[in-house]
C-alpha cells in the first residue's frame, strides 16, 4: 500500500499547518509570559474536532483524518516526537546532582511522590465512576495510574521558572531541581511498570521476564554503557563533524534504547529516557550540544506532538467540570503538602518550603505525555484525560507567580533583604576611622561592638576596602545570625584607597555571620554591581532622605 501523490501533498500540508499554528499560538502565549506549551495545545484544540471540526467539518476530515494512510503517517511522526521528547528530558536529568544534594532533595521528592500517589490511588480505587474509568476489570491498574499521574513533576517548566526568577543557584532552586529530577525518574519507572502490566496479553514476555529484562537493561546501561559513552563522546567531538556527529550519535542510541524497551513490552519512551540520562551524565557532553538538541526537538517535534493531542480529543464534549475540579484539588493538595512537608522536615523555613512545594507542583508536558499514552492503551477515558490536561496547564501557570510572590524581592537579590531605609544615614565626618566607628554605633545593641570594631579595622588595615565610583565596603565576619548592613552617605570623600583612586562617599558597613562565606561574597558582589556607572552614582548625592536614597539604589 502506497500513498498517492495527493495524499502525500495533504500529509505535508497538514504538518506545515500544525507547525504554523503551534508556533503562532506558542509565540502569543510567550508574549503573555506564559508557557509556550499552552499555546501549542491551544493550536491543536482549535484545529481539531473541538473548534474547527465543529465549525468547518470538512477541514478536519481532509487534513487530520481519523483513519487511513494519512493518519498512520501522522501517528508515526507523533510517536517519533514523543520518543525524542523523552530522550531530551533524560539528557537533562543529572542523577549525580540528586546524590550530591542528598537528603533534602530525596526526602522532598519521595514525600512529593508518596502523598499525591496515595491520595490519587485511594480516590480512584474507591470511586472509579467519578473518574469515568473505562474498564471495571482493571480498577487496580487504573488507580495505580491515577496515583502516578498526580505524583509526576515536570522539569522544563520548573527550570524555566527558576531561570526567570534567577534562583537557580540558591539552596531552594537546587533542591527543587534535584527533587524534580528524581521525581521524573521514579514517575516514569512506575508508569512503565503499569504499562507493562497492561500489555501482558500482547507481549511476547510475561511480567516477570519483562521486569528482569528491564532491570538488566538499567544495570548494563548505567555500569557499562555510560562508561563507553563517556569514551566515545570526546572521540566524536574531535574526529567527526561537530556538532553533527554528536547529534547523530545521541539519536541513534536514543532510538536503539526505545526500540529495545518497546520490544520487551515496556513503552519505547522509557528506553529513550534512560538512554538520555546515560548520555547526559557524560562530562564530555558540551552545554552547546545540549542546547542544540533541545532547540531541534522543541521547535519541530514537540509542537507537532502537542498539537496532535488537540486533534485527537474533543476538549468541549469531554469536559467534565466536577471531575476537573476534583483532579485539580487532589493534585494541588497532594503535591504541595507532600513536598512542602518534605522540605520543612529537612530544615527549610516555612516560606522556602512553600516555594519548593509550589515549584514541584508544575506538571506541564510530562503529565500530558503520560495522559495521552494511557488514553491510547485504553486505560483512561477522554474525560479524565481532559481533566489531566487542564490540571497540567493550570499547575504550570500557577507555580511561577506563586514562587515569585513568596520571594521577597526577586531582581535585587539578597542585598535588599538586609538593607532598609532606617539603616541609611547621612553624615558629615572628616576621617575614615571616625566614620567606621560611627557606622558601628548604628548597629543593633545586642552585638559586641568592641569586637566588631577591631575586626573591621583589622580587615581594613590588611587590605583597604575602597572599590570604585565613590564606593567603599568595610566588612567583617562576626558572631551574628543574620547579615547587618549600614550605609552612610558622607558630605565629603574619605580615603579608602579605591581602585580608581577616588575618595569614597558612599560607605557600606557589611557584617556577616562567621561561617557564611558565600553569603558575604554575594552581598559584596550585589553592592559592587550597583556602582558600575559613575554618573548614576553622582545623582545619588542629590537625594536628601533615606527613603529616596533607598529607592534610587534599588533602581540602579
Amino acid at each position: 500500500m502506497q500513498m498517492s501523490a495527493q495524499q502525500i501533498a495533504v500529509f505535508l500540508l497538514s504538518i506545515s499547518i500544525m507547525l504554523f499554528a503551534a508556533k503562532f499560538f506558542g509565540e502569543i502565549l510567550n508574549k503573555l509570559k506564559q508557557p509556550a506549551i499552552v499555546g501549542e495545545m491551544l493550536a491543536g484544540i482549535i484545529l481539531g474536532p473541538t473548534i474547527f471540526g465543529y465549525l468547518i467539518p470538512g477541514f478536519s476530515e481532509t487534513f487530520f483524518p481519523q483513519s487511513g494512510l494519512i493518519k498512520i503517517a501522522l501517528d508515526g511522526i507523533t510517536t517519533l516526537a514523543v520518543v525524542m521528547l523523552l530522550l531530551v528530558s533524560g539528557l537533562e536529568v543529572d542523577l549525580s546532582m540528586v546524590i550530591k544534594q542528598g537528603r533534602a532533595a530525596i526526602t522532598t521528592s519521595v514525600l512529593g511522590i508518596i502523598i499525591p500517589f496515595v491520595i490519587g490511588f485511594a480516590a480512584a480505587y474507591y470511586s472509579p465512576d467519578l473518574f469515568h474509568a473505562p474498564d471495571n476489570n482493571r480498577i487496580f491498574l487504573f488507580a495505580l495510574f491515577t496515583g502516578t499521574a498526580l505524583s509526576i513533576s515536570a522539569l522544563p517548566v520548573i527550570a524555566k521558572t527558576l531561570v526567570d526568577l534567577n534562583i537557580f543557584k540558591t539552596p531552594v532552586g537546587l533542591t527543587i531541581i534535584s527533587a524534580a529530577m528524581f521525581n521524573d525518574v521514579i514517575g516514569w519507572l512506575i508508569f512503565s511498570i503499569i504499562l507493562s502490566m497492561m500489555d501482558v496479553s500482547h507481549s511476547i514476555f510475561n511480567f516477570m521476564q519483562t521486569s528482569a529484562l528491564i532491570f538488566a537493561f538499567i544495570v548494563i546501561l548505567f555500569f557499562v554503557g555510560r562508561k563507553i559513552i563517556n569514551r566515545i563522546l570526546p572521540y566524536l567531538q574531535t574526529k567527526i563533524s561537530y556538532p553533527g556527529g554528536v547529534l547523530n550519535f545521541i539519536f541513534i542510541l536514543g532510538f536503539l534504547g526505545a526500540a529495545f524497551t518497546e520490544y520487551i513490552g515496556v513503552h519505547a519512551i522509557f528506553g529513550a529516557f534512560l538512554v538520555g540520562i546515560a548520555i547526559g551524565d557524560s562530562v564530555h557532553l558540551k552545554e552547546h550540544t545540549r542546547e542544540v538538541v533541545q532547540q531541534f526537538v522543541n521547535n519541530i517535534f514537540a509542537p507537532l506532538f502537542f498539537v496532535s493531542i488537540g486533534l485527537r480529543v474533543n476538549f468541549i464534549t469531554n469536559f467534565d467540570p466536577v471531575l476537573t475540579i476534583v483532579v485539580l484539588i487532589l493534585s494541588f493538595l497532594g503535591k504541595i503538602i507532600g513536598c512542602t512537608f518534605g522540605a520543612k522536615i529537612t530544615g527549610f523555613s516555612k516560606r522556602e518550603a512553600l516555594m519548593i512545594g509550589f515549584g514541584m507542583n508544575s506538571r506541564g508536558a510530562m503529565e500530558i505525555i503520560l495522559g495521552i499514552l494511557a488514553l491510547q492503551v485504553g486505560l483512561i477515558s477522554e474525560a479524565f484525560f481532559v481533566a489531566l490536561v487542564s490540571m497540567a496547564l493550570l499547575t504550570s501557570l500557577t507555580s511561577g507567580p506563586v514562587i515569585n510572590a513568596l520571594l521577597k524581592d526577586k531582581k535585587t537579590k539578597q542585598l535588599f533583604n538586609f538593607l532598609s531605609p532606617k539603616n541609611i544615614i547621612f553624615t558629615d565626618i572628616l576621617s575614615k576611622d571616625e566614620l567606621i566607628y560611627h557606622l558601628i554605633e548604628h548597629t543593633p545593641n545586642k552585638i559586641n561592638k568592641k569586637e566588631v570594631l577591631s575586626k573591621v579595622m583589622e580587615r581594613e588595615e590588611a587590605i583597604p576596602t575602597g572599590i570604585a565610583n565613590y564606593l567603599a565596603i568595610p566588612h567583617a565576619r562576626v558572631n551574628i545570625d543574620k547579615p547587618i548592613i549600614i550605609c552612610a552617605v558622607n558630605k565629603i570623600g574619605l580615603p579608602f584607597s579605591a581602585f580608581d583612586e577616588t575618595l569614597s562617599r558612599i560607605i557600606f558597613l557589611l557584617l556577616t555571620p562567621e561561617n557564611k562565606n558565600e553569603l558575604q561574597l554575594q552581598l559584596l558582589a550585589d553592592i559592587s554591581k550597583k556602582f558600575q556607572s559613575r554618573e548614576k552614582v553622582e545623582q545619588l548625592f542629590e537625594l536628601d532622605t533615606p527613603e529616596k536614597f533607598y529607592s534610587a539604589l534599588k533602581k540602579l
Partner: protein, 275 residues
C-alpha cells in the same frame, strides 16, 4: 606545618621512588617520617625492608609502623594512632573497570582518610619540588582552609604558579529551552551567572590576603569537580589540591560520580587532599 608524616610502604616498583619523595617532603616540613608497612613482622621481612630502604638511597631518620590486616583500614588506623597529619600514598592514574567499583587501597585512603593526603601519580627517585599548584575551591570555610593550606605549601616550595579554580554548573539548565524558546536569553542568563561567579571568586581570594606567590583565579562552567580537575590536567599542574569530601563516599557515589569522585576516578596530576 606537618609534625608527623606517614608513608604507606610496599615493595612495589614505585616503592623506592615513593620513599625518596616522602623524604623530600618530610625534610621540607621538618617532620618526623613514619613508614607504614602492612604484613606479618618477621626477620626475613625486616631484612628485606632494610635492604629495600637502603637500596632506594633513603638517608633520613624514620620509624616503621607494623600492622596486619586489611591494608586501607590498617593504614588509616595506624595514622590516627600515631597522630599523622599528612599521609603519602602512591596511586595509579586510573583503575581498571572492576577495581574502580570495588576500590583499591589508595582510593580507599583518598575517600576515607581523616588527615591530609598527598597522592603521587608518578613518583621519581630524583624528586623535584612542586612548582605549579592548582587549587579547586568552594565558597565555604573548608574551601578557604584548602587554599590557605595549599598556599603555605606553595610558599615553602617557592612555587611559580598558584591557580585557584572554581567551577559551577546548573543542572537541567538547557531544559528551560523547552519552555523558553530563546537561546539568547538562556545564554545571557548563563553568562551573567558566570560573571557573578568570577566576581565572587576574586572577592573571595582577595579576602584571604595571600602574599608571596602570584595568584591566578579561574572560573569555569561545567560539571562541578570534573571541570576543575580537567583544567589542572590540561595545564599539566604539578599538584592539584582539593577539599576532602564532606560525607563518606560510597558505591552510589562511584556509580553517579560528583565532585571529588571525578578526581579520584582519574587523577589529573599529583593530588593534595585537605581536610
Amino acid at each position: 606545618m606537618y609534625k608527623n608524616i606517614g608513608l604507606a610502604l610496599t615493595f612495589s616498583p614505585t616503592g623506592k621512588a615513593l620513599l625518596k619523595e616522602a623524604e623530600r617532603i618530610a625534610n621540607l616540613f621538618k617532620s618526623k617520617l613514619f613508614l607504614i608497612h602492612i604484613g606479618k613482622k618477621d626477620d626475613a621481612i625486616i631484612a628485606q625492608l632494610n635492604m629495600f630502604i637502603s637500596d632506594s638511597g633513603f638517608e633520613s631518620k624514620f620509624e616503621i609502623i607494623w600492622a596486619d590486616g586489611d591494608p586501607a583500614k590498617e593504614i588509616l588506623k595506624a595514622s590516627e594512632y600515631h597522630k599523622i597529619s599528612l599521609l603519602i600514598v602512591g596511586a595509579l592514574e586510573k583503575e581498571s573497570f572492576i577495581k574502580y567499583y570495588v576500590g583499591s587501597v589508595a582510593r580507599k585512603i583518598m575517600r576515607k582518610a581523616s588527615c591530609n593526603v598527598i597522592v603521587l601519580k608518578a613518583p621519581s627517585q630524583e624528586p623535584k619540588p612542586f612548582k605549579k599548584f592548582y587549587v579547586s575551591t568552594e565558597f565555604t570555610p573548608e574551601g578557604e582552609k584548602t587554599i590557605k593550606t595549599a598556599y603555605l605549601f606553595a610558599l615553602m616550595e617557592e612555587a611559580d604558579e598558584f591557580v585557584i579554580i572554581k567551577d559551577f554548573y546548573i543542572p537541567g539548565f538547557a531544559s528551560a529551552l523547552q519552555e523558553l524558546d530563546s537561546l539568547n536569553e538562556l545564554e545571557n542568563t548563563r553568562i551573567e551567572m558566570q560573571n557573578d561567579e568570577e566576581m565572587k571568586l576574586k572577592l573571595f581570594v582577595n579576602e584571604l590576603n595571600l602574599k608571596g606567590v602570584p595568584i591566578k583565579t579561574v572560573s569555569l562552567y561545567g560539571k562541578e569537580g570534573w571541570e576543575s580537575s580537567n583544567y589542572a590536567r590540561l595545564n599539566s599542574a604539578d599538584i592539584y589540591c582539593i577539599t576532602s569530601p564532606a560525607g563518606k563516599l560510597n558505591l552510589i557515589d562511584r556509580i553517579f560520580p560528583h565532585e571529588a569522585e571525578y578526581t579520584f576516578e582519574h587523577l589529573p596530576s599529583n593530588l593534595l587532599i585537605v581536610r
